[in-house]
Amino acid sequence: MHIFPRIKLPAKIENLEYLIEFVSDCANKQGIDRKRIIEIEISTEEALVNIFNYAYQNVDGDVAIICKSDENNKFVIEIEDSGVPFNLLSLKEPDTTLDISERNVGGLGIFLMRKLMDDVQYKRKEDRNVLTMVTSKSHTDKNNPDN
């Protein structure tokens, strides 16, 4: 059985950089290119900041992260928390066509995460929120002519 790298820390902004570094190290060990690693780091930050702010709005708790490869050799990041049921994918997407004065300063994070990753899924598993983000390991793997 393969043991996947896992980290569990209090869900606090002070741990943000350390948690991102953990994911970044996993990605690095899997030979993922620098640009993709930055995209993974940004998506991880967006997920974590939302968990800190919404799932644990009034209480303290932990957040756990597991990194692995799936059967299609894609990079998978699983983020678990035991906060209140909170599906961050249900947040309203921002209107990215508005001009400066009309632009709302919120909602961009989840939008970015969904655009940067190939797939993002949310599940409520027992008393935990589980967010799974999946991305290809290099830009050339993606079936996208833009990359």
Partner: protein, 110 residues
């Protein structure tokens, strides 16, 4: 994150190096607010050495842009590359900001 600023043709040129994330974004925003309160209402932001920006960074840029707009000024960007350029494109920042390849072109367009 490292912020350095200098003046070219009397216009502040601000270079941001490293990462603007949820932890460093407030510092970036404060630096910009300080410039605005000193009466600088046109800013050139050089992001050539910026490696990383998250939505917290984008929010601090939007907040700065709104302040500048209410003062009748604006911010111009130069040197975007890699993931920072990608994030700006995804977020629709190319349609709300003037973004130039180089500082020189930005200065000529202020």
């Amino acid at each position: 994150m490292e912020i350095s600023s200098r003046k070219e043709k009397n216009i502040p040129v601000i270079s941001v190096k490293g990462r603007i994330d949820a932890v460093t974004a407030p510092e970036f925003e404060k630096n910009m607010s300080d410039l605005i309160s000193k009466g600088e209402i046109n800013l050139i932001i050089n992001l050539a050495n910026l490696e990383y920006i998250s939505s917290a960074g984008l929010r601090s840029i939007l907040a700065t842009a709104k302040k500048l707009k209410s003062e009748g000024g604006k911010m111009l960007f130069a040197g975007l590359q890699g993931p920072v350029e990608e994030v700006f494109k995804i977020s629709g920042f190319y349609s709300i900001f003037s973004i130039f390849d180089s500082e020189t072109t930005a200065l000529n367009n202020i």
